[in-house]
Symmetry: C2
């Protein structure tokens, strides 16, 4: 299991700290005693849509996605999540999306009952929970504009810049993309071929370099221009 986890992309931000006991937002500290650490293998589920919202998770290492699968197989990925992101607080009652592991994951799991109970007596935690939800909502709203009104090329440019911001590992300009092309396509409302073609186009233009390890953002200004935000 440990060796499996080591094959995963970059151990990113948390790897240098003894797992759950690091700089947790102050408000979350009092939940720590109720948390337990779990692992989920690549492409396996964290939770399924329709399940009761009994837990939420904080990502320790790895990358996760939220997914909606239509009956005929069409798929929409709501968002990708990185270390320190909170998963499963987007709903009351039952989950709307599925939560899945893009890479092997280590998670810190907390019972929602405890989270909600603590929030009731702790205004800082309560505000922090709403802040997280508002942040997610802002992301969703930006994604609405992207899906509704941007061209394929604009979507790709926006996505690359977004991944650069979120996965924020500054080894030169190379963005590591733990998800595959299908995931990217299903996040941007495109086909996998259109994703490939537009990445190739950006490469021919000299805007990006396509590496095995990720995408090299050679010309961020050009990408910003294309992203139209």
């Amino acid at each position: 299991m440990q060796t499996a986890l080591r094959t995963v992309p970059p151990p990113t931000r948390m790897s240098h700290m003894p797992t759950p006991f690091r700089a947790v937002p102050g408000a979350l500290a009092l939940l720590e005693q109720f948390g337990c650490t779990v692992t989920v293998r690549r492409d396996h589920e964290i939770y399924r849509h329709g399940e009761p919202t009994d837990f939420c998770w904080r990502i320790l290492t790895g990358c996760a996605r939220t997914v909606k699968l239509m009956e005929d197989g069409r798929r929409q990925i709501g968002e990708f999540l990185w270390p320190d992101d909170l998963l499963g607080m987007d709903d009351f009652g039952t989950h709307y999306f599925d939560g899945e592991a893009v890479t092997d994951l280590t998670l810190r799991r907390y019972p929602r009952r405890v989270v909600e109970a603590q929030a009731e007596g702790n205004a800082v935690l309560a505000l922090w929970l709403r802040t997280i939800t508002v942040t997610n909502l802002r992301f969703a709203h930006r994604q609405l504009v992207l899906l509704g009104r941007k061209t394929a090329l604009e979507k790709i440019a926006s996505f690359l810049l977004e991944m650069d911001r979120r996965s924020a590992q500054t080894d030169g300009g190379v963005v590591e993309l733990p998800m595959n092309r299908t995931d990217i396509a299903d996040h941007l409302g495109l086909s996998i071929e259109t994703v490939c073609r537009n990445l190739a186009h950006l490469q021919r233009e000299g805007t990006v370099g396509i590496l095995r390890s990720g995408i090299d953002l050679l010309d961020r200004d050009a990408l910003l221009e294309l992203a139209r935000e």
Copy 2:
């Protein structure tokens, strides 16, 4: 002004009550003393993106929209809002969308500072605010699937059912649509012509009737089938 407001579509749910003093969610009752009633004319702004989030609004009568305008004129409507819906709580700091009046509006406006201050000392209000945000997030997530993966016809069917649910005035099966075709198109990521053509298609099929006052949902089962949800 009053006569202007009377020309607006359906006075919907609130019209039979003396405006702000009606069944306000208990948690909001203690904010009522800080609220003031404002009106906004059709197509005018309530707030602009980038403005500080100094206020939020509860809709008393009329219909509002949240809008993102791209530099070249492309437009995405995030959501439509009806009486009792809360507007302007989606962000901290500055607004992302514009808020605009679809019809002439009466609003109850509250200072955010007061709302936040009250929430800090009142767990019920705090939870209620988060519940509203979570509800908005769920709507946004459904819209992501619609924009990313549904066909034009599926989008139209989904939209009609959604409007039926939200504007919930049960005069037979007729959904009143206060927004114009352009607004619908910009909400669904379509062109106005595609909206028209698909509505016409549904009419030819006998699924809906297109009336001056709105859309008659003749065959809800067919719409549900088409909406794929």
